[in-house]
């Protein structure tokens, strides 16, 4: 048993490495924890899905038939567990709507998680169809609930979720469950249509009165750890980034710069005038310069004020 376990662990570890690498190419500093991610990764691979660590299993089941899973990676301590889904139309009472079945996996460190979640939905009865139709017409809520503890239903209280009934119809009735778990406790169930539900909601009567269910099991993520640096990195601590509390150039010297700018402009105008006059007549150059000099003196006086 222990060797089998260790080999599976090895496989696990490899897969973690691969996925981890793909996750953290961009951030080489990241210290991904290997404890909690482990189970996520495992089922990511088991299901043959993408490396999205959140998705554990994804069962697409139409009401009569349940798709069977073939691969088996569980340990000996697995046990089957079932809990029921109940639904209500508007403010009516809850009635049974289907059953979730899953395997309970007990980890060597004592934790328990659910894996391989499957869902089988009961077909809608005639009265339920009527009720649903009424909901669609009234744009009212279709509500579902599951127990908060899968061991001892209903646990402390039922987990309730609801959706505007008009969000469900496509061809048939499409629904999407995302079940947030913490061990054997269900925290919350996000229920709704798998896609968008544009507002204002249009009344659409489905062609088929059967549900197409998508279920996703989600365990919590681990927060990224705070990066810890060695001295030299700390050395270049954001100090360079912080602009010094100095007034900028303009703020400090504008009163000197304005007269200076004016002098320059004045000089340029003078120079242009001079050029023109030079074109007009050669004599008088001497005096013209004198005038320019005098004019240059004038703004300098302004500056000294």
């Amino acid at each position: 048993m222990s060797t089998r376990y260790s080999s599976s662990l090895k496989f696990l570890f490899l897969s973690i490495l691969v996925v981890n690498f793909s996750l953290s190419v961009s951030k080489s500093f990241a210290f991904q924890s290997d404890e909690l991610l482990a189970d996520d990764e495992e089922f990511g691979i088991e299901g043959g899905r993408s490396a999205d660590p959140a998705v554990l299993t994804r069962t697409i089941s139409s009401p009569p038939a349940i798709r069977k899973r073939s691969s088996d990676l569980g340990s000996d301590t697995d046990s089957k567990i079932q809990f029921s889904l109940e639904h209500a139309f508007g403010d009516s009472d809850f009635s049974s709507a289907g059953t979730f079945s899953a395997r309970l996996k007990t980890w060597s460190h004592g934790g328990q998680t659910l894996t391989k979640l499957r869902f089988s939905r009961n077909g809608l009865s005639e009265t339920e169809k009527e009720n649903l139709k009424k909901l669609l017409e009234g744009d009212d809520f279709y509500r579902i609930r599951v127990p908060s503890n899968v061991f001892t239903p209903p646990g402390r209280e039922y987990i309730v979720s609801s959706v505007k009934a008009r969000c469900l119809p496509r061809d048939g009735l499409d629904e999407h469950f995302m079940i947030h778990m913490e061990g054997v406790n269900i925290l919350a169930i996000n229920y709704g249509s798998p896609g968008s539900c544009p507002y204002p909601r249009q009344l659409k009567i489905p062609a088929k009165w059967s549900f197409k269910s998508h279920t996703v099991l989600k365990n919590g993520e681990q927060a990224p750890r705070t990066p810890v640096f060695t001295e030299e990195v700390v050395g270049e601590n954001g100090e360079g980034e912080v602009p010094p509390p100095e007034r900028p150039f303009w703020a400090k010297y504008w009163m000197y710069l304005i007269p200076l700018g004016l002098i320059v402009m004045n000089a340029i105008t003078q120079a242009m005038n001079m050029a023109e006059e030079q074109g007009n007549g050669q004599p008088g150059t001497q005096t013209q310069q004198a005038v320019a000099g005098a004019q240059r003196g004038q703004p300098t006086a302004v500056r000294r004020r």
Binding site: V163, G192, Y199
Partner: protein, 985 residues
């Protein structure tokens, strides 16, 4: 013409260049900020006037402040704010130079130096049983060489040396579960008497040797009917109590171990009394006071234990303690309430009929009734006794009365602000401007000339002082009308006393105050308290004919099911427009995003029976509400059970009296947190009126990221139930912190993340699409701050220009929570040095200016931290493009830049909250921090890029222009002349 145009170009350049004000300069302190110091409602006061150059009064308050006040002007000499758990139980003065405080349930005894407030010593008194707390400082008692203080706390009598706080002896008196009520030390003897009760029926008297603490004699006697409460000690050998039925007065005579009881029926006193009597906790010699039938009866006790009624006064009378005058005489003071005035009466202890003094003082009705009075005596110039009285009013303000006048007053209700709202000021029009502030052109020019001198650094020290004074008293900022930049506003604050005050943001002065009648103690409302303030009416279209108003929500008692009270107050006039109550219970107030035709905001009030009531109660509001009924959702969190629930409105209530404004609610979703592993410790939601400028964020590689912006997001933090205690009470292995981002319409968990080895306290702030939270990391032994940013993936395909052109984008479609969100979150954690008291974020008018986090540090200061430091996309070596985008290289801890303390050198003692309000000027935000102190400042997180600073010298600019124009003309004339001369040559 050409030159003129250029001059204008130049001017344009000047105007567009901005003044950076990341931090303020030394001379700008007090220019755009103000700071006010308070102490809170006074509990005890001890005067220190004998042989002291500076006469002072030492007070302890309900805000756990011990302070020394100047008796002449009411200023604070020194003050210490003890922690929120360090409640001061008693104060006194020892040795004439130390202030002794007993705090923390009688476990900590401290001595403070009277002149400067330095702590001299601190000693911890141990004990097991909680008991009454007594502090007694005999004047002339020495054990060995030490002067001694007697402290009774935790069931033990301690003798403490007043010079160094050392416990000389300790005697556990109440081993059999009794409680000592009084310590009596007859001067000049060696015995201290401790008088107490065991189980309210057995009267005990202990005699203890003061030198050794040895119990000399213990005598007791059972009073079979039992006492109803504490005893009052009338003289050194007579105590008075009420029996358990409240109808018999019992005088207990005790002397040298002999105890005897004298019973007198209350009805025998010759008055026509009915109903239960209550003893008032007075400390008078030879008499006591009973409250019967809402009036106060003063009863004299003779030496033989006979009772004799002296007088009956109205029930709003405050009585002081007895004050020893020199010839063995005693005096006490009474404060009675008149119409708009209070009457202070001083009487001699043994002579009821004659008054030593009677003074009538005009008192603002908004102060309420006098609650406490402390008296002090002084010798007048004619060698007779004069009295001064320190009065605590119902609104927690403090007054010193002397010679029939108010010497000074302190508005100490402001130390206990419970909620803050901001109101606009009236627009400027004829007859509205309250303050006369315009001044003539000459003064204006003079001021600017002074400024010019300052800029050119040719100002004399006198001029500099004048400039500084001018800046601080700039009348512009304290005007009573709206300004162009939106800097002038009214801060409407609600205090614990149930008083509403309006503070001007310019200088912090009180514009009006209103003691709400609905929040005053009455028959129907025993323990009223204000809960929150809400914007009731904020006119924009009707700004000239409607005044804005606020809704004050209160509750009659501490429990959530007690009746609620509502009142609506005009923020311009400070008058109550309307009030309601006591009415249904109020658990929550939800401001709806709808207003009626006079711009009154619709509010939904929830009660404990989970019924929602709509306000204002008008048909129009009901119509609007019915229209939007399907789009109103809210959530509730049960912290004890760990359950979150989502609710919506269902239908009208079925009540005995039909009420079309009452609605039943229904549950839509629930989240049940496992009670064995998670406990809610913090939540944060977005401010519902926050402006977000852009929904998209363009990254350095020309990619667009769409922010997931929803007003219905909730941040929730839970910890392991074991880790609820203080830091260090759990090991890192058994402690974790789980954070959630939840959509409150559908109950979807958008993000859930666990921080292992971390624990609270958690402070969080939610803004735009990000949340920042602060917690303690047990593994790293440091505080950490984390950021979570949420981005919307479903709108990524909008980048296709072709689709945009063809209109096949979903940018303009309404966003609904019922679509399955495709969000990604980015997160990052950083170490942070300080522990925090509160956390806030700046808010600006349009949300363009970058944000700063405002951290209320443990040192009662406010630190501004750029949100850029808490960017989850920071990397160790950002590329050039990323650097241009403003991404700072990754560091493991957040920097604390000393210049970014917005409170600069000041402290906001007892900091409890920070409120930020956008100004009309986009770059600027107004920050109000409150606690025991108040602090207000104008901040510009990205510098004032959209305006000139106030010290911009217009005069210099004007002079420059004038001089230049003259110069142009002179040179022009000059050159014309020259030219003419040239031509004539």
């Amino acid at each position: 013409m050409n030159i003129v145009f250029r001059v204008f170009l130049l001017l344009l350049t000047i105007f567009s260049s901005s003044y950076p004000t990341l931090c303020i300069y030394e001379d700008q302190v007090g220019h755009m900020d103000w700071h006010q110091q308070y102490i809170g409602k006074v509990k005890h006061a001890v005067f220190h006037t004998q042989k002291a150059a500076r006469k002072r009064v030492v007070v302890s308050t309900e805000e756990n402040v011990v302070a020394s006040l100047d008796l002449r002007r009411g200023e604070i000499f020194w003050r210490h704010v003890l922690g929120p758990n360090d409640v001061i139980d008693a104060i006194d003065i020892a040795l004439g130079k130390y202030v002794i405080t007993l705090s923390s349930g009688g476990t900590i005894l401290r001595a403070w130096n009277l002149p400067d407030g330095q702590m001299i010593w601190e000693s911890t008194l141990s004990g097991s049983t909680p008991s009454k707390l007594l502090l007694s400082i005999p004047t002339n008692l020495k054990i060995g060489k030490d002067d001694v203080i007697f402290v009774y706390s935790s069931g033990c009598l301690n003798a403490v040396a007043s010079i160094d706080g050392e416990v000389i002896w300790k005697n556990e008196l109440t081993s059999e579960g009794g409680d000592v009520q009084q310590l009596i030390y007859p001067e000049g003897t060696d015995i201290i008497y401790a008088i107490g009760l065991v189980g309210l029926a057995q009267f005990d008297a202990y005699q203890i040797n003061v030198k050794t603490g040895e119990l000399l004699k213990h005598s007791s006697m059972v009073f079979p009917p039992g006492f109803s409460g504490d005893l009052l000690f009338i003289t050194s050998n007579i105590a008075v109590g009420l029996d358990s039925t409240g109808s018999i007065l019992v005088a207990v005579h005790f002397q040298d171990g002999a105890i005897s009881f004298h019973q007198t029926r209350v009805s025998e006193l010759g008055w026509d009394f009915s109903g239960p009597a209550v003893m008032l906790p007075t400390k008078l010699t030879g008499m006591f006071a009973l409250e019967i039938n809402k009036s106060i009866v003063f009863i004299k006790v003779t030496n033989e234990g006979k009772l004799e009624v002296l007088d009956t006064l109205g029930h709003s009378t405050a009585v002081s303690e007895s004050l020893y005058l020199s010839e063995g005489q005693q005096a006490f003071g009474l404060v009675q309430q008149g119409d708009g005035k209070i009457i202070l009466t001083m009487k001699l202890g043994n002579d009821w009929t004659n008054n030593l003094l009677q003074e009538t003082i005009q008192m603002d009705y908004q102060r309420g009734i006098a609650q406490k009075v402390f008296i002090n005596t002084y010798v007048r110039t004619d060698r007779s006794y004069g009295f001064r009285a320190l009065i605590v009013m119902e609104d927690h303000s403090l007054f010193l009365l002397q010679q029939g006048e108010i010497v000074w007053s302190r508005e100490d209700g402001l130390a206990s602000i419970t909620d803050v709202m901001v109101s606009e000021l009236p627009v400027e029009k004829d007859g509205v401007s309250v303050a006369k502030v315009e001044h003539n052109l000459f003064e204006w020019l003079k001021g600017h000339l002074l400024k010019l001198k300052g800029t050119l650094m040719i100002a004399t020290p006198d001029d500099v002082a004048a400039i500084q004074k001018m800046r601080l008293q700039s009348s512009e900022k304290s005007k009573m009308t709206r300004d162009h930049n939106g800097f002038r506003k009214l801060l409407i604050v609600l205090t614990r006393a149930g008083k509403l005050l309006a503070l001007h943001t310019g200088d912090g002065r009180i514009v009006w105050s209103l003691l709400l009648d609905s929040l005053r103690k009455s028959e129907t409302c025993q323990n009223p308290r204000g809960l929150s303030l809400h914007q009731w009416q904020d006119p924009h279209h009707h700004v000239l004919d409607e005044n804005p108003s606020v809704l004050v929500v209160g509750r009659c008692d501490y429990s959530t099911d007690s009746p609620g009270v509502l009142s609506i107050v005009d923020t311009y006039t400070g008058q109550e427009r309307n009030h309601m109550g006591p009415t249904h219970s109020i658990t929550r107030v939800i401001p709806l995003p709808f207003t009626d035709s006079v711009e009154q905001r619709l509010h939904l009030l929830l009660d404990v029976n989970r019924q929602a009531r709509l306000y204002p109660r008008s048909n129009e509001a009901l119509d609007i509400f019915q229209r939007e009924l399907g789009n109103i959702y809210w959530y509730s969190a049960d912290v004890d059970e760990g359950i979150l629930k989502g609710h919506a409105v269902q239908n009208n209530c079925i009540l005995e009296i039909a009420d079309s404004y009452c609605f039943n609610t229904r549950d839509l979703w629930s989240i049940v947190l496992p009670s064995e592993s998670e406990k809610i410790i913090a939540t944060a939601t977005r401010n519902s009126i926050e402006a977000v400028h852009t929904q998209a964020k363009v990254t350095s590689d020309q990619e667009v990221m769409y922010k997931y912006i929803s007003k219905n997001l909730l941040f929730l933090a839970t910890v392991a139930p074991k880790a609820v205690g203080p830091i260090g009470s759990v090991t890192p292995e058994e402690s974790w912190l789980v954070v959630y981002v939840i959509d409150t319409v559908t109950g979807r968990i958008l993000h859930r993340m666990t921080h292992h080895g971390s624990q609270g306290p958690v402070r969080a702030v939610f803004s735009e699409n990000w949340v920042v939270y602060h917690y303690f990391n047990l593994k790293a032994h440091r505080y950490e701050m984390s950021v979570i940013e949420i981005y919307d993936q479903s709108r990524l395909e909008n980048k296709d220009i072709l689709k945009l052109l063809l209109g096949k984008h979903n940018l303009s479609s309404p966003i609904t929570a019922y679509s399955r969100p495709e969000v990604i979150t980015k997160s990052q954690s950083y170490f942070f040095t300080h522990s925090l008291k509160t956390l806030a974020v700046t808010s600006t008018a349009k949300g363009i200016t970058s944000k700063q986090l405002l951290l209320g540090t443990i040192g009662d200061q406010v630190l501004a931290l750029d949100k850029r430091f808490l960017d989850p996309r920071r990397t160790i070596n950002p590329t050039q493009a990323e650097k241009e985008e403003g991404i700072i290289p990754l560091t493991d801890s957040l920097p604390i830049i000393p210049q970014s303390y917005v409170t600069h050198a000041l402290k906001v003692e007892g900091l409890r909250g920070i409120t930020t309000v956008p100004a009309k000027l986009e770059s600027t935000t107004l920050v109000f921090a409150y606690g025991v102190d108040l602090f207000f400042i104008r901040l510009a997180p990205s510098r004032t890029y959209d305006s000139l600073t106030e010290d911009f010298s217009y005069a210099l600019l004007l002079i420059t222009i004038v001089v230049l124009v003259i110069a142009i003309f002179v040179t022009w004339v000059w050159s014309e002349k020259k030219e003419l001369q040239e031509k004539w040559r």
